[in-house]
């Protein structure tokens, strides 16, 4: 192609982009924040305990699995990732498969919650939620579905209170926080490396000065993990979606979820970063809650462990490590394509995750 043709093509491309931006600006000017809904699947509030809420989703199909299931997210971000929009919602997909689904929302911790620990979240809030579910449904055990740090909560709860857990489903859950070294992908595991580069006293100081691990701080660390995507998402990448209303709304919903970054209570934050990320106590069998050691070998109920092959936040090797320590013979691993968040929200992964979980539960529902 001649030099003139190249310049001509470049100018055409820039003109097309300018046209898209102009159309997109028109679209954006008509969209209000209330039009961008996330986590909109209907549910009702069953219990409130301090800032924590337990909700039960409205059924969408005849019940096919008897045991109720509790979705337990972590304290970094919110569970609404699993219910981003109607066509990208693990919640809706599981409801459509006839599962009695509940969710626990940790609320918006502030400096007032700085003294809450892992012990409180596992042995008080989660325990109270399970108790309430049993009381409401007449079941003596529930199924837990943990996501990321929520998976660590449910793992600890199931190990300490096995009499209350029928099945344990974990997704993108770190168990061995030092197994990132075994993951060869260079863009995986920055969080592990970064945390280990700090002194324990740095983490103590952060919590003592700020009271919490700020949501904005974690947000900036996550942005660092995908540097070019973070730099181009509001310019070059936005040009691709801005003139298409459906794609633009998808983008805005994702942004809304990303902007919703609650603070992580201080004491629980110290445990998460020091005892788990730095000292790897859960995998080493020395992690204690309320004076009791959490032993992965005490997980004797059926366990389904799902992880994402291109998860740069929780490297797959950190999740897979559970298989070496779990006490049950009924242990299943499912590796799905996609990233940490993509496992839940990408169009390619829709269906695969919910089908896997639903089939696995139905086979064990007696």
């Amino acid at each position: 192609m001649s030099h003139v043709d190249r310049i001509s093509k470049l100018m055409q491309g820039l003109t097309d982009a300018a046209g898209k931006v102009q159309k997109g600006a028109q679209l954006l000017s008509n969209i209000k924040d209330e039009d961008v809904e996330v986590g909109a699947t209907p549910k009702r509030l069953v219990m409130r305990r301090d800032k924590v809420e337990l909700h039960r989703y409205t059924p969408m199909a005849d019940q096919t699995v008897g045991t109720p299931m509790l979705v337990c997210y972590g304290l970094i971000g919110r569970y609404t990732m699993a219910d981003l929009q109607p066509d990208r919602s693990l919640v809706r997909a599981l409801l459509a498969k006839g599962i009695d689904l509940w969710v626990i929302d940790w609320g918006n911790p502030s400096r007032s919650e700085r003294w809450l620990s892992f012990d409180d979240y596992v042995n008080d809030y989660l325990a109270a939620a399970v108790e309430r579910m049993c009381a409401e449904t007449g079941h003596d055990k529930v199924t837990l579905l943990g996501i990321c740090e929520g998976g660590v909560f449910t793992t600890c709860y199931a190990a300490l209170h096995p009499d209350k857990v029928r099945n344990l489903v974990l997704t993108i859950t770190p168990i061995d926080f030092h197994a990132d070294g075994a993951d060869k992908a260079e863009h995986h595991g920055f969080l592990n490396i970064w945390t280990r580069s700090l002194d324990p006293s740095d983490i103590d100081k952060m919590v003592d000065v700020l009271g919490v691990v700020p949501g904005e701080f974690m947000s900036s660390v996550f942005s660092m993990m995908t540097p070019m995507r973070s730099l181009t998402k509001y310019n070059v990448d936005l040009v691709d979606v801005i003139d298409d209303e459906a794609k633009l709304m998808n983008f805005l919903r994702m942004e809304k979820w990303l902007a919703d970054r609650p603070h992580h209570p201080g004491v629980a934050g110290k445990q998460w970063l020091k005892e788990l990320y730095q000292e790897n106590r859960l995998f080493d069998g020395t992690f204690e809650l309320d004076g009791r050691t959490v032993k992965l070998g005490d997980l004797k109920m059926p366990v389904l462990n799902v992880f994402a092959l291109d998860d740069h936040i929780i490297p797959p090797t950190c999740s897979q490590a559970l298989g070496r320590k779990v006490g049950t013979k009924d242990y299943t691993e499912i590796a799905l394509p996609g990233g940490h968040v993509g496992l839940f929200v990408s169009s390619k992964s829709q269906g695969a995750l919910s089908q896997s979980i639903s089939d696995w539960l139905k086979a064990r529902d007696s």
Partner: protein, 243 residues
Amino acid sequence: MSDTSKEPSLEAWTRLWADATSQGVKATQAFTQSAWPFFIGRMAEPGGEGVNQMGEAIERLAQGPRLSDVWDIDRKFYAAMAAWLDLRAKLAVYSTTTATPWQSALKRYSETAETEVDDDWRKAFGKWSAIANEEMIRNQRSEGFLKAQRELLRATLEFKQKQQALTETMTTFLGLPTQQDLDEVTRQLTELRREVRAFVREAKAEKQKGAVPAPAKPKVPASARTAAVKSTRSKSRPAPGSR
């Protein structure tokens, strides 16, 4: 100051106002002739040498001995200033560290652009983006970057801590609760709540233990029951002649 106690009210107030104004003029003169303008001037010097020297000077002031009858807000102010100067220095080092991958990316991209020419700007940008991403991710894992980040985090927290100390001094002076006060209240509340909930759980568990039905008594044969009733009646009937 003149003795206004015996003068009529309006004239006394006028004299007080005049005295206060002259005191204010003297204070302003003291400031303009003091070390502060010198500090500010040195810090604004290009090259940052002034900042380094001022930082050291301020550090010495902040770490000086404390006198019991002198309010130490100045020390706290100096400490916050020293922390801010240190934060600026650490930020400069961090910025230099994050600039490194861009230079590496540009070098790599220039080498590929010489051999491969893209007609589509998106393809060309995609190549640049992939190279820059790789270089930045590699840089993040380098010891230099991790050290710069760590130092920046520490400097930020140190500044925040010194800032908080200053704020607490002012809020105490104004009679308002400080952050430390609120933290202590929430700590006690959290511990109290834990104790209450543990107590409630124990009580519930005890109640559930107590609510467990007693094991069923073994069935007594009818003949044995009749014999028992007869025996009871004979014991309760008074002996003849005993009344």
